[in-house]
């Protein structure tokens, strides 16, 4: 495997390594965050490392289940379990966004646990309530929330964030987004140079590394692109729940699909929108209009985005994967199916990090009715 891809894959999988290295060099300074609506620019600008927290599908989420109840998205229950177990190493703070209901409940649980059970020694927690209605009233509110977050991060860092550093951080994270978009193009190309699983892992790596390091590795990866092997499969666009681990992508691609694009924020959606200027006003708008994600956007906005993104990817089919207790995707699906006009399947109430039994059948049916592309497939079809 190419060197940059290997390093990125390693960081996307062992999500603690970069934070541990950073902690050693800087004597701490790692801030855990939950949800793509957290403006990591403030954390970077304060000289701290933003580490996006993820769950672990194979591990029982006993503590998370106790505090959150079993009726909530299992990914959030897993993150809480891991936080309580210290899986992410020592954190100097946690920033939670309102990217979905489960994140908000997770924030409330952390806040209350800190209040009633100090013995747990949880790090300080801050909610950044980024909202998304397309109105000026919402922009004003998001700006106020960013002001609040800035003050909290300054307290955690023990020094003020100067405007110059913030502008630089905005520029740096936008540069990262631009590179991610170019990396995403590698799996859209025909033939694809990256699989969906590889791309997801690369994106995940950029949410644990310092932004400069992530940028450098992506640049390197792009120079290696011509030497990457070609991948084949039925080209599908994946909608529905977000994926904080690679398990489901692996399962999908093992069954002959190639995930060429998605509309969740551990994937393409993370880098879709740029910041119009290196200012706080533009940053607030960037996060307000970020999306459209399933739990926050209207059915109409989602369907329109899915249609155009699936077309840009050259997708042959649409797969909606809805995790158990993730309620939004099921409501979006009928309009998405109609808007894309692609052969499609809804995999409902799926277990965390896996495909249910019926899912495999539905996917096999989808694969039968959709022709894979690529030289090998064409050769097979000709035989």
């Amino acid at each position: 495997m190419a060197a940059a891809l290997a390093q990125l894959t390693s960081h996307g999988t062992d999500r603690r390594a970069a934070a541990d290295a950073f902690r050693t060099r800087h004597h701490g300074g790692v801030i855990g965050y939950i949800g793509a609506d957290v403006p990591v620019e403030y954390i970077t600008a304060a000289g701290l490392l933003p580490l996006r927290l993820s769950g672990s599908p194979g591990t029982p989420s006993t503590d998370g289940d106790r505090y959150l109840g079993t009726g909530l998205d299992p990914a959030a229950r897993s993150v809480l379990t891991r936080l309580l177990a210290g899986d992410f190493g020592p954190l100097d703070g946690i920033v939670v966004s309102r990217d979905c209901e489960a994140s908000l409940r997770l924030f409330y649980a952390l806040r209350e646990l800190r209040r009633v059970d100090p013995a747990l020694a949880l790090p300080p927690v801050h909610l950044v309530d980024v909202l998304h209605l397309p109105h000026r009233t919402t922009t004003r509110y998001v700006r106020a929330k960013f002001g609040q977050l800035r003050a909290t991060v300054e307290t955690w860092a023990g020094r003020p964030i100067d405007d110059r550093a913030l502008a630089d951080a905005i520029t740096a994270h936008d540069r990262l987004r631009e590179l991610l978009t170019r990396v995403a193009a590698l799996r859209r190309s025909q033939p694809a140079r990256l699989t969906g699983a590889q791309t997801l892992t690369v994106v995940a790596a950029t949410t644990v590394l310092p932004v400069e390091r992530a940028t450098a590795l992506l640049e390197e990866l792009l120079t290696e692109a011509d030497h990457l092997p070609a991948h084949e499969g039925v080209r599908v666009f994946l909608t529905g729940s977000p994926h904080d681990t690679v398990h489901v992508y692996d399962a999908l691609e093992d069954s002959g699909l190639l995930v060429v694009g998605e509309d969740h924020d551990w994937g393409d959606l993370l880098s879709l929108r740029r910041t119009a200027a290196p200012t706080e006003a533009a940053l607030a708008e960037r996060y307000q209009y970020n999306g459209p994600s399933a739990p926050r956007a209207s059915i109409r906005a989602r369907a329109e985005h899915t249609r155009s993104a699936a077309r840009e990817c050259g997708a042959q089919a649409l797969v909606s994967y809805a995790r158990v207790h993730d309620d939004a995707p099921g409501w979006d699906y009928p309009a998405q199916r109609e808007a894309t006009g692609l052969p499609s399947v809804l995999l409902n109430r799926q277990p965390y990090g896996a495909l249910g039994e019926e899912a495999a059948e539905a996917l096999a049916e989808l694969t039968r009715t959709t022709q894979p592309t690529g030289p090998r497939a064409r050769a097979e079809a000709a035989r």
Partner: protein, 417 residues
């Protein structure tokens, strides 16, 4: 002396019938109609004379008439989930009813505007679908959340709501409500009068003050003067009509009726040995359940959230009525479901009512339940958690549920008697 049905409950139910019939006529003549979520600000519609139906109330009517499954089927036919947010989505299915003439109460007329906060992940999607129906507009409101809040909200809310809710949320919702007023002025041609609106807000506060007195009466009364589920229509129907003189007077009539019972010593269960609190939504499929432990254990349910949240959750005074309205709704459900507010409030209410134990119905969608149970236990109050998934199956076999509660009463509530 045992208690007959409350006259205020019968009066409220009769009023509701007449009101709905009148509303259907008004809308048939081409007037506007709003469908409004329960936790969204309705007072603006009241002040502008735009009739409205509360989404969750209509849902309860459909359910009571045993049509919920038909309606969920209509959603399923269109590819929509039938297993998510049913309480909000059932009224949407009314729009697809092939036989509206046979719908409950003559059917829900088609609204011209739907208003809801964008709470949760899916509830706004239901209103997105409303928005695609001919002649219907969805006006969404943000549902905002605060990083840090003072715990004892019930002391602050009536007058010091700015501090309890936080200025950012209030700025946001006030701005959104100004937009709503302009939208309604333009689409209905009706007028928003600040004077009229101030009157509406004053009537709401008067009504909730009556509810507060009633709650306090019941909290102090020994023995308990009325069964807990009997108070629900007397509180909730006027709540849907808040901002009218009728509703204010209905709340007062309910109060007077309870006061009368207290003074004559009317009781649910004269041999009251244990006072119980019921936390969670009502057990609609088995309302008699609440009374099942009176003869066997002398145990009486004295508390449910409906009267208590009316008493503590709505009062908002202040010189700026629109901001006061924003303060009523910008954090409404936090009062019931978000710790520390929810947890501390249940403890305060448990103490206020002198309860000996709490039965806590924990739904699968358990918002803050762990922390509520924990806070009550930390305050020394026995709690029995019933999990909704087993309650639904147990209801087929009501005996098991009865036995569970009975055992808990014997072991944890009455053991020290």
């Amino acid at each position: 002396m045992s208690a007959a049905r409350l006259a205020s409950a019968s009066a409220a139910t009769a009023h509701q019938r007449q009101w709905f019939a009148d509303l259907r006529e008004e809308v048939a003549d081409g007037g506007p109609l709003a469908l409004v979520n329960a936790d969204a600000p309705q007072e603006i519609f009241r002040a502008m004379g735009i009739p409205y139906v509360v989404n969750q109330w209509w849902s309860s009517i459909v359910t009571a008439k045993r049509r919920a499954q038909d309606y969920l089927g209509l959603l399923r036919e269109r590819g929509y989930p039938d297993d998510s947010e049913q309480y909000s989505s059932i009224p949407l299915a009314s729009a697809f009813d092939p036989d509206p003439a046979n719908a409950p109460w003559g059917g829900l007329p088609r609204p011209t505007i739907v208003l809801a906060e964008t709470t949760g992940d899916a509830s706004r999607k239901i209103f997105d679908i409303w928005d695609t129906q001919p002649g219907v507009s969805f006006y969404p409101l943000e549902s905002a959340a605060e990083n840090d809040v003072p715990a004892r909200w019930w002391e602050l809310m009536p007058r010091d709501w700015e501090r309890a809710v936080g200025s950012d949320r209030l700025d946001l919702m006030t701005g959104e409500l100004e937009g709503l007023i302009r939208f309604l002025e333009q689409t209905t041609g009706r007028v928003f009068s600040e004077t009229r609106f101030t009157e509406v807000m004053a009537l709401v506060n008067e009504q909730q003050e009556w509810n507060r007195r009633t709650r306090d009466l019941i909290a102090r009364a020994r023995p308990c003067p009325l069964p807990v589920n009997d108070s629900i229509p007397s509180v909730m129907i006027p709540q849907w009509h808040r901002g009218t003189a009728w509703a204010r007077d209905a709340a007062r009539a309910f109060h007077d009726e309870v006061a009368e019972r207290v003074s004559t010593g009317t009781s649910v269960c004269p041999e009251e040995r244990a006072r119980l609190m019921w936390i969670g939504r009502g057990l609609w499929f088995d309302l008699d359940f609440y009374r099942r432990f009176e003869e066997s254990h002398g145990a009486v349910f004295v508390w449910s959230m409906y009267l208590a949240i009316a008493a503590d959750g709505y009062l908002r005074y202040g010189d700026d009525p629109l901001r006061a309205l924003a303060a009523r709704f910008a954090a409404f459900s936090d009062q019931l479901y978000t710790p520390p507010w929810s947890a501390e409030w249940y403890v305060k209410e448990a103490r206020h009512h002198g309860v000996d134990g709490v039965v806590h119905l924990v739904s699968e969608d358990a918002r803050g339940s762990y922390f509520t149970t924990r806070a009550l236990k930390a305050a020394g109050i026995p709690v029995l958690e019933l999990h909704a998934d087993n309650v639904d199956t147990r209801s087929a076999d009501g005996d098991t549920l009865t036995r569970t509660v009975g055992d808990w009463l014997d072991r944890h509530v009455l053991a020290g008697d």
